[in-house]
Symmetry: C2
Subunit: 191 residues, 2 copies
DNA sequence: GTCTATAGGCAGATAGAC
DNA sequence: GTCTATCTGCCTATAGAC
């Protein structure tokens, strides 16, 4: 039986490294130093680096799925749901990091196929949830928006991913995501 | 005197590699094979990899500057200018690549300071040009948009950068940038 | 300007002791 | 589960011949 605690520590440290430096720019040595074990021990939990990458995306996608369920359960309005969704990214921006999925996506061509597919699945999950939420808001006359829900959903996801990347490069004193939220809600006719 | 032709070939090949695979995911060996020389010869033109990166961003930023001058000279309307600007990215999407600046930005934390600054400068150039163009369009009553020009400019850049990254991951059959353009122009009240 | 040869270090990964 | 030891290969970079 694997030691779940070490595996979790490895995933936590690896996630931070990928979100800060990128999948190709961190090594098992970096990870070993973060967690306080030797590189050879990491291979016990994740035989190859690709296995670690797949486990990261799996956990991240499950986390998103749970967060979306939470939002659907708790939020009072479709506008509130979308704001809660955007908040998931705002927290990442505050850490000066980028989305795990966005980080993998920017290294896409260097990734094994399973990992590429995991990236696509994460995007699809996000996009369909946003589109459904927009549709619901339009149907309930909460948003004045007229147009394809899929289109604004794509736009939102693109601007969140790009916003995180540009925000970090511009500096912590000029956050972009509040602006993304403002413009997006205005576009929806929900401002 | 350096052989300008080889240096240009190296920059061309390196730019493609960065836009496809990322700065940390290509090597002098890859580059040498692309151009048909030995890795040691690359060091004659670009002593360290960072020098190559800086030269890439310098050339890319100068290219943008020239493209913006061209657009300002030729376009008939502010809407036309913005469409020409977006077209610069559409061509990148068609190649299945991402923006050179976006690629560097996603690896930001692993870059030397000069390169980080070059990334920030490229973003600032783009953003201020878009904001100025939006302002002009609002002033000339071409756009119905009311709000901060800087905000929509940030939004557009974020969605273009993020759009390229997500588009590649979703697959060539579902381009995102036409959608980005449509939603953006609608937001501007220019559709 | 480009080459061969080589340095020195780090990458991911495996074998086998404990 | 974690360790030491080790492998093989690739990385950036340099020295010096041509």
């Amino acid at each position: 039986m694997k030691n779940a605690e070490t595996a979790t520590q490895l995933l936590d440290a690896a996630q931070q490294l990928v979100q800060e430096r990128g999948y190709n720019a961190f090594s098992y040595k970096d990870l070993a130093e973060s967690v306080g074990i030797r590189t050879a021990s990491i291979h016990y939990h994740f035989p190859a680096k690709a296995d670690l990458g797949v486990a990261l995306m799996k956990r991240y996608t499950e986390g998103l799925s749970e967060a979306l369920n939470s939002i659907d359960r708790d939020a009072r309005s479709n506008k509130g749901k979308l704001k809660s969704f955007i908040k998931l990214y705002t927290e990442t921006e505050a850490r000066g990091a980028i989305c795990l999925c966005g980080s993998f996506a920017s290294d896409l061509e260097t990734l094994p196929a399973v990992l590429q597919e995991a990236v696509a699945a994460y995007i699809e999950l996000s996009e369909s949830w946003v589109a459904d939420t927009v549709k619901a808001g339009v149907g309930e006359a909460e948003f004045g928006f007229s147009g394809k829900a899929r289109d604004v959903a794509s736009m939102l996801l693109s601007s969140l991913q790009g916003g995180l990347i540009l925000s970090r490069a511009r500096g912590a004193d000029q956050p972009l995501l509040p602006t993304v939220q403002r413009v997006f809600l205005k576009t929806l006719g929900a401002a």
